[in-house]
Amino acid sequence: MKFFFYLILVLLLVPLQTTLLPHLSVWNIKPDLGLVAAALIGLFAGELEGLLIGLTIGWVLNLFSAGELWLSLLTNGGVGLLAGFLGRQVSQVTSYSLGGMLLLVSLVSGLLAAINFKGLDISQVWWMAESIVVPQACFDGAVGAGCYWLLSRRFDLTRLRTDRMDGLL
């Protein structure tokens, strides 16, 4: 059951991200749903699943992007792993803490990508950070926090996470 859920998620994420999200972009900036999905899976299913699904999402999205594979894997896999640790170490994750984590990860990943661009001088890197990286990080954080808030209204998330931890112990 879980496998099919992940399969459908990965298959639908690409058309969502590449076809539908451009219509919902604000100032040509769209959120990274792969990052948000990996973070939520890591939080609720643990670091291993977060990592594996994050890596899969990163790899599949990279097939439809001109970006570097290592960065996509590092960002999506890393956020799944980090969210798993966050879910284990912090007893009460809030939408703010998840949003903050996503903002930071997105910021670091965007800056790494900007630095990795060939032939850009410092002013162009700064322009990219200012007009793409920071707005996208804020967008990713807000979407992640919003998704977590919506899920918390529908389900008892603390219990979900505690059950998962009890199962592992």
Partner: protein, 293 residues
């Protein structure tokens, strides 16, 4: 936030960290091999993902078409009148160009130029945009199974769109002419000076490395030079809008307004073989005028 006092399962944590670290080390040590492996494994995944991708893209196109047909009809009358005027002007231009073409043909025959074969092109539909905000790319519904390979040029009848950078079995990713990572050999049509066209961060393009003595001016048209890459000579890239000539610099550069509005492009042609490699005969204009499927 409270810190949980539960003992963590170190086995899972260690496995996760070790797997991740191993993968990253492999990626940094063997980037080309891992990229190749990823592309190879991505073949079947590309097929699987293309099913919902094409389905959603066709729904999206359908909704956009309905919108254009029924809702966005405001100002159509004025636009129609303007287009009629433009059409009349273009007809006049067309007849003059036909005359020029006939004259060129006669002169070519006189000079006994070797007849050039025309490029083979495959039509494709745009089904998506880049998954990230950092690159300007479009996703096409044709891939390796249709003979599309990385580095092939992508055009519309209006001009250059970009070049293919990645392919799966049934889809391909095209890096647009407005992306800073793209570089195409360009030629100023009037002065015949060459340069390199690169995208800018702001989503426009720039012609770099123009000789210092070039007499270029605003409004000059820039076409492909056909010297490097998979673009044949003479495809429109854009129009010069601003010239940057700095004191003591070795070259000039100029800002370009791309001929194709790449943010709205829906159908494109992928150049499979450039001039001189194809066995088909005909005229280049005929090929570009072919209606898309």
């Amino acid at each position: 936030m409270w810190m949980a006092h539960s003992s963590s399962p170190y086995g899972t944590k260690r496995i996760a960290l070790a797997c991740f670290a191993l993968l990253l080390v492999a990626l940094f040590l063997f980037p080309n091999q891992i990229q190749g492996l990823s592309q190879y494994l991505g073949g079947p995944v590309g097929y699987a993902v293309s099913v919902p991708l094409e389905a959603i893209a066709s729904i999206d196109t359908g909704i956009a078409d309905r919108w254009e047909q029924y809702v966005a009809l405001q100002g159509v009358r004025e636009e129609n009148q303007q287009l009629r005027k433009e059409n009349e002007w273009l007809r006049g231009q067309h007849s003059r160009l036909r005359e020029s073409a006939a004259a060129t043909e006669r002169l070519t025959a006189l000079l006994r130029f070797k007849e050039q074969a025309l490029p083979t092109m495959v039509a494709a539909q745009v089904i998506g945009r880049d998954a990230t905000n950092r690159y300007r790319t479009i996703i096409l519904n044709k891939g390796e199974s249709d003979g599309i390979k990385p580095d092939m040029g992508v055009v519309t009848p209006a001009g250059v769109v970009g070049r293919v950078v990645k392919t799966t079995g049934v889809s391909s990713v095209v890096l647009l002419v407005t992306d800073p990572n793209n570089a195409i050999a360009g030629l100023i049509q009037r002065t015949r000076d060459e340069g390199i066209v690169e995208g800018t961060q702001q989503g426009l393009a720039q012609l770099k490395y123009i000789p210092l003595l070039s007499t270029l001016r605003d409004g000059d048209r820039v076409v492909t030079s056909g010297l490097i890459g998979d673009f044949p000579r003479g495809l429109m890239i854009g129009t010069i809008t601003h010239i940057d000539k700095q004191e003591g610099a070795l070259f000039q550069s100029a800002d370009l307004m791309p001929e194709v509005d790449v943010s709205r492009v829906e159908e494109v042609l992928v150049i499979q073989t450039s001039y001189g490699q194809s066995s088909k005969a005909g005229s280049g204009a005929d090929l570009l005028e072919k209606p898309l499927p």
